[in-house]
């Protein structure tokens, strides 16, 4: 199986205070930000690795995982880290953050998919900066491929996947045929959430997060192929279809009030907060 995993770098959520908006409010100032890969995209990477191995140690590779990002040269650090974690090769589409919107990212990925012809495209259900929850769905639409979003479990079957999706009322199960686009949710990294065709019955991963990049893999990462493409070569002439009107920092939290009893709490929730 060949899987393309789309990764986006985001400003380190633990250091969100560094995100600055200039007075004009026309953009986000990215100077000096610390970056990391969007957590949901890392889960997608972990999912891709689990789908292309048998789970046993030492693991046998059963397919190919290609990590893709769109961004400036610094984002190669994030790709190297994906390669150290286990991806087989990487592609960077050279561009800058403010030259992109969801639609353009989906269009660029579409071209890459047409070149690479993966069986599956995996990505996080959303990025933790913009929280748009858009690119996966847009890409499936552009490709006219089946899609499953918010995957919490994935089981490989002949010619496709059985995907358990977390929805408000519980779990809905979808069967998608390859090639497909799947976006993943948090619980996809639970010990037995992902089963490739070769995963042994009853096997569980001994961790529930993204795997460590082991030292030998870190040292090997720079020897793995990393190709660079120009955005214009993929989607020449395309322009941004969404325009950012204004950025504003969220309002500072107001001090809370202490209520004296449950009655007052209920009353305030009803009359002031209008929550009930």
């Amino acid at each position: 199986m060949k899987i393309l995993v789309a990764l986006k770098r985001v400003a380190d959520p633990a250091n969100h205070n560094k995100v600055k908006i200039p007075a004009a409010g026309d953009k986000i100032d990215t100077a000096g930000l610390e970056w990391q890969i969007n957590p949901f995209d890392l889960y997608a990477l972990e999912t891709a690795l689990r789908l292309t191995e048998d789970g046993k140690a030492p693991k046998t590779r059963l397919g190919e995982v290609v990590a893709v990002t769109l961004g400036p040269a610094e984002t190669e650090t994030n790709l190297r880290s994906a390669l150290a974690t286990g991806a087989d090769r990487a592609i960077r589409v050279d561009t800058t953050d403010d030259a992109l919107d969801g639609r353009l990212v989906a269009a660029a990925l579409q071209k890459l998919v047409e070149e690479e012809k993966p069986d599956l495209v995996l990505m996080g259900k959303q990025v933790v900066d913009g929280e748009n929850n858009y690119v996966g769905q847009a890409l499936a639409e552009l490709l006219d491929w089946p899609m499953a979003t918010f995957a919490a479990t994935i089981k490989e079957e002949a010619g496709g996947l059985l995907v358990g999706r977390e929805v408000d009322g519980g779990v809905s199960t979808l069967r998608v045929k390859f090639p497909a686009v799947v976006t993943v949710d948090l619980r996809i990294v639970a010990p037995d959430s992902v089963r490739s065709s070769k995963t042994a019955e009853g096997f569980k991963y001994p961790y529930e997060e993204v795997r460590f990049a082991p030292l030998p893999a870190i040292m090997q990462a720079k020897k793995k192929p990393l190709a660079v493409k120009k955005l214009a070569d993929l989607v020449g002439g395309a322009t941004l279809s969404s325009k950012y009107v204004k950025f504003e920092a969220p309002p500072a939290r107001k001090a809370g009030v202490k209520v004296k009893d449950v009655q007052e709490l209920v009353q305030k929730l009803a009359t002031e907060a209008k929550a009930i």
Binding site: G32, E34, A213, P214, L215, M219
Partner: protein
């Protein structure tokens, strides 16, 4: 049982500063044999090791402390989770950073392995001792064993399949290693029958690995008394079959484990070798009576290792205190102390607490710089050997000189930082609900094992100061002087550099005095002041390195705006340096005065006068 919960954290920005911005790791990486390493690999390594520390070993720190180790049916049982952690730690490969490539390692610089150790050990000192001693034991075989021995033991030990220990101490032979009486009788087939009792053996038994390789100092038949007569033996817990697998037990009995103040997750075993006359060992290498020399060659690493244990805990305790001080609200701002309605503030706003926090910050970062400097000298010495022997000699000389400072000053500081961290926590710091009381208990051992700090101080004063005709000391003092000369008129740090100059002069004066006493045979005076001198010299070094960091930081700070995190980071460097220079370095001058006054009361007081009981 306590539930696994990570409370360890580290400041990776600080680690990167020390490695790259202050000590120029980037330049070292261009030298052989480090060329496979670039800044990217180093940073990825640190962030992955940090994950390991916070996700695997950190959550077990309190668990190990509460459960401790116990002996069941002659076998030590380690705390819950240690076996799983051992597996994960070795799968991650980070214990092979400095292992030679022929044994699957990555030839990383020592300094990177040092910082990785700060993280793993800082997150769980007790756990990290098992791999730490295993690497130490394997290093010995790697350096001195025969090709067959390296083949037989090193692969399995470096990969974590087997573990290792160091067996020096005996009931009557602690600091006085040469008093060891364990006995090795040569057999017709070239093996040796080992008998004797070793005490306090870290990792002496455990349930993490199928075999344990003990490195045992013992005396052969007819060998002279004292350290010279000791030979080093490889004594596995289970005999190793011809095909390399572990077979039957080798008559090494674990009779008990100590019940200790700290590092409770690390087993400290009483081992009985050859009780039934069935314990077989092999000489490490081919020559008898080389044991002490062989151990000594590895001593610098082991002692720097203890320094790192100290740093790991000190840093963890400081960051715990900082976090608590930001959360805990108590009292009002000093300016409003009379107003009962004034808002309660976080204790980090109180001058009293800020004083303690900055004391900790300055000492922790200073010790880190001291250790990184020592490890960098080691790396340079290794990279330059055979290429530029003069330069290699200089670096090796600095390693020799700085090692007792690293071991002692770091370990003493760790205990003091942990003590202050408890103080910042107030009453809760004294309870087991917060990690700092464990930090204090764990840290105390560092000043005792691997040569007590008393012994380190004597090593510094009696051996190291005069080593190579005093050349190493002169070069060291020269390096400090060059920094002072260059930065005397620094716009911001000038007055602090003046304090450094005074401390430099004081230390140089004391060096002359001590060397004078050595030459005139007044040796009895030396132990009275050796520890104080070690502290003086450590404080001089730390003051220098903190100021050096501040000079770099102030340069880098230019052009940054105040809301930039790096601005604040660099600003922290400046204040740590000024604090240390203004509030610690003056005591170096005072100590020199004390030293030259030559008081001998501890010798003059009759034994009976210490107390009437």
């Amino acid at each position: 049982m306590s539930l696994p919960q990570n409370r360890y954290k580290a400041d990776l920005r600080e680690l990167e500063f020390v490695l790259f911005e202050q000590f120029g790791l980037g330049q070292l990486l261009q030298r052989e044999p480090y060329q496979d390493w670039g800044e990217e690999e180093v940073k990825l390594t640190l962030s992955e090791v940090y994950r390991l520390a916070t996700e695997v070993t950190g959550p077990l720190n309190a668990v190990g402390d509460r459960e401790g180790c116990r002996v069941e049916g002659g076998q030590v049982v380690t705390p819950s989770g240690f076996r799983d952690a051992w597996k994960k730690v070795y799968e991650s490969g980070f214990k092979s950073l400095i292992v030679p490539p022929e044994f699957g390692g990555q030839s990383a610089p020592r300094v990177l392995s040092a910082i990785a150790t700060e993280l793993t050990s800082g997150s769980n000192t007790a756990f990290d001792m098992y791999p730490g001693l295993t690497i130490g034991a394997a290093d010995l075989i790697e350096a001195f064993g025969t090709p067959e021995q390296r083949e037989r033991y090193c692969h399995k030990m470096f990969s974590g399949e087997w573990a290792g220990t160091m067996c020096l101490t005996e009931p009557q032979a602690g600091s006085d290693v040469g008093a060891a009486t364990s006995f090795a009788k040569k057999n017709a087939d070239g093996t040796y029958s080992i008998s004797g009792t070793k005490i306090f053996i870290s990792g002496g038994d455990q349930d993490l690995t199928e075999n344990i390789v003990h490195m045992v100092l013992a005396r052969t038949e007819g060998a002279p008394k004292g350290t010279k007569g000791l030979s080093l033996f490889i004594v596995p817990k289970r005999r190793v079959a011809a095909d390399g697998s572990s077979g039957e037990l080798n008559d090494v009995k674990c009779l008990s484990v100590e019940h200790k103040m700290g590092i409770k997750g690390s087993s400290t075993a009483l081992l009985q070798f050859g009780d039934d006359g069935q314990c077989l060992g092999e000489l490490c290498g081919t020559a008898e009576q080389q044991g002490i020399k062989q151990m000594f060659k590895m001593m610098n690493y082991a002692r720097i290792g203890v320094g790192l244990q100290g740093l790991g805990i000190a840093s963890a305790a400081y960051l715990s205190a900082l976090e608590y001080a930001r959360e805990r609200k108590q009292g009002a701002n000093a300016a409003a102390w009379k107003d009962p309605d004034a808002p309660r503030v976080a204790i980090i706003e109180h001058a009293n607490v800020r004083r303690m926090l900055l004391w900790m910050k300055a000492h922790v970062e200073g010790v880190r710089a001291l250790i990184v400097k020592g490890a960098m000298h080691l790396d340079h010495a290794m990279a330059l050997a055979g290429k530029d022997d003069q330069a290699a000699l200089y670096h090796q000389g600095q390693v020799e000189l700085l090692t007792p400072l690293i071991k002692s000053y770091s370990s003493d500081t760790a205990f003091r930082v942990a003590e202050l961290a408890i103080q910042v926590h107030g009453g809760v710091g004294y309870t087991m609900d917060y990690p700092v009381e464990q930090h204090a208990r764990d840290a105390k051992i560092f000043s005792i094992y691997e040569g007590t700090n008393g012994i380190q101080a004597l090593d510094l004063v009696a051996r190291k100061l005069g080593q190579a005709g005093g050349m190493n000391t002169q070069r060291f003092l020269g390096d400090v002087a060059a920094f002072i000369e260059k930065n005397r008129d620094h716009a911001v740090l000038g007055p602090s550099v003046a304090n450094l100059a005074a401390a430099h002069e004081a230390v140089a004066g004391s060096v002359m005095q001590l060397l004078g006493w050595s030459q005139s045979g007044e040796l009895a005076r030396i132990p009275l002041v050796a520890n104080r001198f070690l502290t003086m010299m450590s404080e001089l070094t730390v003051g220098w390195l903190l100021l050096d960091a501040a000079v770099i930081a102030l340069e880098k700070q230019q052009g940054l705006t105040k809301d930039d995190r790096d601005w604040a980071f660099y600003e922290g460097k400046r204040h740590a340096a000024v604090f240390f220079a203004q509030q610690v370095l003056p005591s170096v001058v005072g100590s020199a005065k004390m030293l030259s006054a030559g008081d001998t009361s501890p010798l003059d007081i009759p034994d009976a006068a210490f107390a009437t009981v």
